[in-house]
């Protein structure tokens, strides 16, 4: 990386200079090819790993911890972003921090790139392997190590499934707040990498507000303890930097999380609307009125119908244009007062009806429907483009209207299910990947919606992360100077660039990709080849 002074006195780093590092992934988003980072000592991909290295890894991890068989490696070829794939040379599954660190040290010595992986449920390609590299998975690190019910924290291995953590402490009247829709499968370590959210993050905050400490294996294979219960203030905010860093700064093997006491009372409301716009406006009004329910979600008609036609059958009204699903929790009086205010707003905004869940069973069904919505969309079409964009809460209606129009113009089936309270939208588009023209239109629509969000003061992603999917679009939000500082921080902690290279930071300088694509132009992507 070369530093040069530019005329205005600032120094600039030329991120795009450098030799070819590693071959890219293949896929519809057309990002195969050089990542353009200057890691020239990188071994050429397609060459198998040295047998000596494999032997040492096998000695370290045993047969249970090392996967070399190509059939099994293929099952790791992508994460939730199935349009992107890569074939790792080896998949490692260490059992604990010690094994993970030793394995990382060996890989670092050989300069093999490493893609950390939790459950592989991520939707932006953050866990997509790089051809010729290694994947380190946390699937064998699933223990809840300690739950402290007095000071309300827990230490877990990074592979613990999100919902299992809440289950482990529910008996003591505690819960872990961040609850992504994929919580039945996603891991705490993955949540840390992506700073995952979930419906109840509206009130309680995303993962970053619940991490008290981390055990991290660095790129060179050293082990660091960051923070801890009662000591999360120490030093620079390394935890703050690490959470959301998408596996590019280190591998978290253990996480110390904050637990919350279960609230005295929970109410779940389902408000029915015959107009999606009115539904969005109701949410904007609730935010403006400073109400604090614990979750505010919107589902539209297409989503409702898909959910009701599936095994989830949550009891959503199939003739409503949109529903608001709201949780209110806290003390008895607080909940009662907030529910009253919410009812008033809903009725004022033209809700047809507001139902209250009668009991815990009904509440569970309503939420299961919401969390299973993406899966239920499989009934509509074989593939689902799960968009994830975020905008100020005052602009909800505008984004939804725009997304609807963009989809309609392209003859696409758009469904909306989103964390309305946070302004985090998922305008999802159903498609069939075998139809290459449809794929093109889907990606184009996604880009346009993202651009409009950014234009209205939003950002690229509210919870799914940048990964591969939105890497080039980083230039919509950040300039070269901003990205250079991120690159400096990243290189300070991973000077060899072996951790998840090629993700998040765009390959080309933003000055080259600054121009917006006008409406109707073909995007700069290649359609997916139909696999034989």
């Amino acid at each position: 990386m070369r530093q040069r002074a530019s005329p205005d006195g600032a120094t600039a780093c030329d991120r795009s200079e450098g030799r070819w590092g590693v071959s890219g992934t293949t896929g519809a988003l057309g990002r195969s090819g050089p990542f353009g980072d200057d890691w020239s000592h990188y071994p050429s991909p397609r060459m198998p790993l040295a047998p000596e290295l494999l032997r040492r890894l096998r000695d370290l991890l045993g047969d249970a911890g090392l996967i070399t068989d190509v059939g099994r490696r293929l099952s790791y070829e992508s994460d939730g972003l199935s349009l992107e794939r890569g074939l790792a040379e080896v998949v490692l599954l260490p059992a604990d921090t010690r094994e993970a660190a030793a394995a990382m040290a060996l890989l670092y010595e050989a300069r093999v790139n490493v893609v950390p992986r939790g459950a592989g449920t991520g939707l932006s390609g953050g866990a997509t392997p790089i051809d010729g590299g290694a994947v380190i998975g946390t699937a064998r690190m699933r223990k809840v190590l300690h739950v402290d019910t007095i000071d309300r924290w827990a230490r877990v291995q990074a592979g613990v499934v999100n919902v299992d953590l809440t289950r482990a402490c529910a008996g003591d009247g505690l819960f872990y707040a961040p609850d992504p829709s994929s919580q039945q499968a996603c891991t705490i370590g993955g949540n840390v990498a992506n700073n995952s959210g979930g419906p109840h993050c509206f009130r309680y905050g995303s993962t970053g507000r619940h991490v008290l400490g981390l055990t991290v294996v660095t790129a060179t294979g050293e082990v660091l303890e960051l923070g801890g219960p009662g000591r999360e203030d120490e030093g620079l905010d390394l935890i703050g930097l690490f959470v959301g860093s998408e596996g590019m700064l280190g591998l978290a093997t253990e996480v110390v999380v904050r637990l919350l006491p279960a609230p005295e009372r929970v109410e779940t409301l389902l408000a029915l609307f015959d107009d999606l716009d009115a539904c969005c406006d109701a949410v904007s009004e609730m935010i403006a009125a400073r109400l604090e329910p614990s979750a505010i979600e919107i589902l539209d008609k297409l989503t409702i119908q898909a959910v009701e036609a599936s095994v989830l059958r949550a009891g959503y009204p199939e003739d409503a244009e949109a529903v608001l699903l709201i949780d209110v929790d806290g003390g008895n009086e607080e909940v009662a007062a907030t529910v009253e205010d919410i009812l008033a707003i809903c009725m004022r905004r033209g809700a047809l009806e507001v139902r209250r869940a009668a009991d815990a069973g009904e509440r569970k069904k309503l939420w299961a429907g919401r969390k299973g919505a993406f899966g239920a969309m499989g009934r509509i079409a074989p593939d689902l483009y799960v968009a994830d964009v975020v905008a100020p809460r005052t602009k909800l209606r505008q984004i939804v209207t725009y997304a609807t129009e963009v989809a309609r113009e392209r003859g696409l089936k758009l469904s909306n299910v989103f964390h309305a309270g946070d302004g985090n939208l998922h305008p999802n588009i159903s498609y069939d990947r075998r139809n290459t023209d449809e794929v093109r239109r889907v990606l184009e629509a996604g880009d346009l919606i993202m651009q409009r969000c950014v234009d209205l003061g939003g950002a690229l992603t509210g919870e799914h992360g940048v990964g591969l999917e939105k890497r080039e679009q980083m230039c919509m939000v950040y300039s070269d100077v901003d990205l250079d500082e991120m690159t400096r921080a990243r290189r300070a902690l991973d000077s060899a660039g072996i951790l998840n290279p090629g993700k998040l930071i765009p390959t080309r300088g933003c000055r080259e990709v600054r121009t917006r694509r006008p409406h109707g132009h073909a995007p700069a992507v290649q359609p997916l080849e139909v696999p034989r």
Binding site: G9, A10, W153, E225, G240, A391, V466, Y478, L504
Partner: protein
């Protein structure tokens, strides 16, 4: 005090260079104090970045050994907002007479709200904006600003004495509302930073939920300006509560007060803030603040009065007492040496009191402020042990008097401070320091000295083993600020070699980990 330099100081020469590019630089102080204090007054973020860029060039030009003695850095930049937290830097500089190599960057001109979105609960403002002003702006829109930081503090003769956005974030000064709202870093959504490379870089954004890119700005929250300069930041805001109430119990013993506070925390009752302190009245006072929906506050307050006894205040009275309680922190602020040593129970927090202005280059009284942090369940034990040590020390030195050290705790989050006077010339032995540090380690608390004579602070903070995190901290400092323009000063005046306790002490002085897990074997 050393004699003024015969030749033009480095800072003075750099100042001339900045003036040539239309950046105002002002000198304060007089020759008899060892030289003038130079401070730049950039007009905006770009000017700050320009200062850094010019510093790069300046350092290149002065790289030859003839120009600058090898043991001293060519130039160092120290940003500040209201100037209420410069005491540490001042003490270090005074010892080694390095003022002529330091340029203070005064953000007084970087003021103004850039965007306040009441409908979205976010605020973006320039780093030099007074915290008080921001609080007023959002209050008018029905929001509370968090953290509930003190609005003012004593200065060293430079700065307005009003806390600023950049200062509150840079020192990560949590308020008592940390209990309900979380620490400072939970409220920052994004920031623009004048980096040590001379650029103006943004990360994060203005949205309450956002995972776009690395949150590099988070490194600057709590870095006290030792990595770069915060020029603009976005905060998430809290809704104003419908009702407030405070229940106060006076005349308690320290342990009793903390035990009661802990019982409340375990009961799961949602509190806004809680305090245990002896700076308000005789004995220890426990104050508990509830806020939220009116009916809930009423119910909770009745329950509190039934459990704790004491008296209750509502509405404006409660809010007014909450402000006073918030400002008790000022008695523990690093600058307030004289005030804390005088043992005054109450004080006004405005900078107008002449006796609070410490002389810029010297203070003839020392106030040792110890900060303790632990998990809430052991807070009572920790505080009792620490207080016993303080009282023993006082008894040893001032045998005829027993002065109760000042104490302030936010029990729900187990953050505690002791302030005790150390007469000039008195040496606190290393044995005494390590006795306390060991005791704290045994009960699982971290201890640091936030204020006091530099050597004593260093002894306290150096007594703890270096944290594991130094590996990454060093790497980040080397990567983001390779020239050490903003690097923390050690007591010797040279930039502290990264990784040493002195470096950490200069940066955040108060909390060094005694982390039993830090020796994990790979």
């Amino acid at each position: 005090m050393s004699a003024p330099h015969a030749t033009l100081g480095i800072a003075a020469e750099f100042a001339a260079r900045l003036r040539a590019v239309d950046i105002d630089v002002v000198a304060t102080g007089d020759e008899s104090n060892g030289g003038a204090i130079w401070r730049a007054l950039p007009q905006d973020g770009h000017a700050v970045a320009r200062i850094v860029a010019e510093a790069h060039c300046f350092q290149d030009e002065h790289a030859s050994p003839e120009a600058v003695p090898a043991s001293h850095p060519a130039l160092r930049l120290v940003p500040f907002g209201g100037g209420t937290r410069l005491a540490r830097v001042r003490a270090d500089l005074a010892r080694e007479d390095t003022f002529d190599r330091v340029l203070f960057v005064d953000l007084a001109l970087l003021t103004g709200v850039i965007e306040y979105e009441p409908g979205d609960g976010t605020l973006t403002a320039r780093a030099g904006t007074p915290w008080e002003e921001l609080a007023e702006v959002v209050a008018a829109g029905g929001h509370d600003l968090t953290p509930d930081a003190t609005r003012r503090g004593a200065t060293l003769g430079i700065g307005s004495g009003r806390s600023t956005l950049g200062g509150v974030l840079g020192s990560s000064a949590s308020g008592p509302d940390r209990l309900s709202r979380g620490p400072v870093r939970h409220h920052v959504l994004g920031a623009e930073v004048a980096t040590a490379s001379g650029t103006l870089a943004r990360s994060g954004g203005r949205l309450v939920k956002n995972v776009t890119g690395f949150d590099v700005f988070r490194l600057h929250i709590g870095a006290r300006g030792t990595l770069g300069v915060l020029t603009e930041a976005s905060l998430r805001l809290m809704p104003r509560a419908e009702a407030d109430a405070i229940v106060v119990v006076d005349g308690l013993e320290l342990e009793g007060a903390l035990v009661r506070a802990e019982a409340l925390r375990r009961s799961g009752l949602t509190l806004r803030a809680s305090w245990v302190t002896n700076v308000m009245r005789e004995g220890f006072t426990l104050a508990v603040h509830t806020s939220g929906r009116a009916r809930q506050v009423e119910r909770d307050t009745r329950a509190l009065v039934a459990t704790l006894g004491g008296r209750r205040l509502d509405g404006d009275d409660a809010r007014s007492l909450a402000r006073q309680l918030r400002d008790t922190q000022v008695a523990f602020a690093p600058d307030d040496n004289r005030l804390a040593a005088s043992g005054a129970a109450t004080h006004d927090a405005g900078p107008a009191s002449a006796h609070k202005r410490a002389n810029l280059l010297g203070a003839d009284s020392h106030c040792l402020v110890l900060r303790l942090r632990c998990v809430p369940s052991v807070a009572a034990d920790v505080a009792t042990a620490a207080r016993a040590w303080c009282v023993e020390r006082q008894a040893h030195v001032l045998s005829s008097q027993r002065i109760e050290p000042h104490f302030l705790a936010w029990p729900g989050v187990a953050e505690m401070r002791f302030a005790l006077p150390i007469p000039l010339g008195d040496a606190v032995t290393e044995a005494a320091v390590s006795a306390l540090t060991e005791r704290m380690r045994a009960v699982g608390a971290t201890l640091g000295a936030e204020s006091g004579p530099p050597t004593l602070r260093a002894t306290f903070n150096g007594a703890a083993p270096a944290c594991q995190t130094l590996l990454w901290e060093n790497a980040l400092r080397a990567g983001l600020d390779p020239r050490g323009l903003f690097a923390p000063l050690s007591a010797s005046g040279a930039p502290a070699p990264p990784g040493t306790p002195a470096a950490l002490e200069a940066t955040h002085g108060s909390v060094l980990g005694t982390n039993p897990r830090s020796a994990v074997k790979p």
